[in-house]
């Protein structure tokens, strides 16, 4: 079924640190524009949710949203890092937000904060110099492929 489409990681200033895709049919024509739109829309959506829920807590207010063609799952860390995953809207009962939290704690933190050569808030995609980034991506890929909803 190929339920997982793609994933983004943003820092708190709106810069996209990582983009990975596993199963996406629509081509990315304007990458910078798309990233800005996504970050801005989620920023507005989190404020919307916070206002509607009434709890003015530190949580981001949003877990996920569903449209006709995809579902977007959102996890925001206390430092403002945003993990976003787009999946098939029909995956019921699978807590993708927990998966995102696990990815942050077990994969992302291991290869960035615990890596002495990593500069804070820089991109972790393959293009940058750090060799550990490709390790991060390899681990991320294998973790995603091991999920029950992946296929």
């Amino acid at each position: 079924m190929m339920a997982i489409y793609c994933m983004y990681i943003f820092d708190r200033n709106g810069n996209c640190l990582l983009y990975r895709e596993w199963n996406r049919t629509r081509l990315r024509v304007d990458i910078a524009g798309e990233e800005k739109n996504l970050y801005g829309m989620l920023f507005a959506l989190c404020n919307f949710c916070r206002q509607l829920s009434g709890h003015d807590s530190t949580s981001s207010g949003l877990h996920f949203y569903e449209t006709g063609s995809y579902a977007l799952h959102y996890y925001q860390t206390l430092t403002g890092l945003r993990f976003i995953m787009m999946t098939n809207p029909k995956i019921a009962n699978f807590d993708v937000v927990q998966t995102l939290k696990h990815i942050y704690e077990s994969i992302y933190v291991q290869y960035t904060s615990l890596n002495a050569f990593y500069t804070h808030n820089t991109s972790v995609s393959n293009q940058s110099n750090c060799a550990e980034n490709s390790e991060l991506i390899k681990h991320l890929d294998s973790h995603i492929k091991s999920l029950s909803i992946y296929s």
């Binding site: 919307f48 509607l52 996920f64 949203y65 569903e66 449209t67 995809y70």
Partner: protein, 145 residues
Amino acid sequence: MMVILYFFVVNKAGGLMLQRTYSDRAPRLSQNDYLHLASTFHGMQLLAAELSPNSYSSPNVFSGIKRIQGVGFSLYALSTATGLQMFVTSDSHSDKMHEFLADAYSSYSDFVMKNPFYEIDMPIRSELWDDHLKALVEKYNKITP
């Protein structure tokens, strides 16, 4: 027990046509806040459709937001072919909310659209529809777990 909190109707330009609060648990916001929420929601629908990672395989698949799961509330939205949007918030998840929206839309077409004095896309003032909505909310509050 699921409780319905808010009900909004937004026109195709993002303007608020109706806003009702159905529970004390819903946070009290100002009228200005409601207007702002309605137009934000409208904008988000368009952006969400733009950001879809899949090309539109069929014209019947609506790519705007249908459901939002937030912390402490759930939102369900209905978008019609004419650009009207309705959304309802509740304090917990229930699959029946899409039926509620379908019922609300059907009674909208009866009480609002068939009123010859109603101007399209203007704020809705219909006592009959208000009563009908209240009855619908009570019905769905009872039947959902």
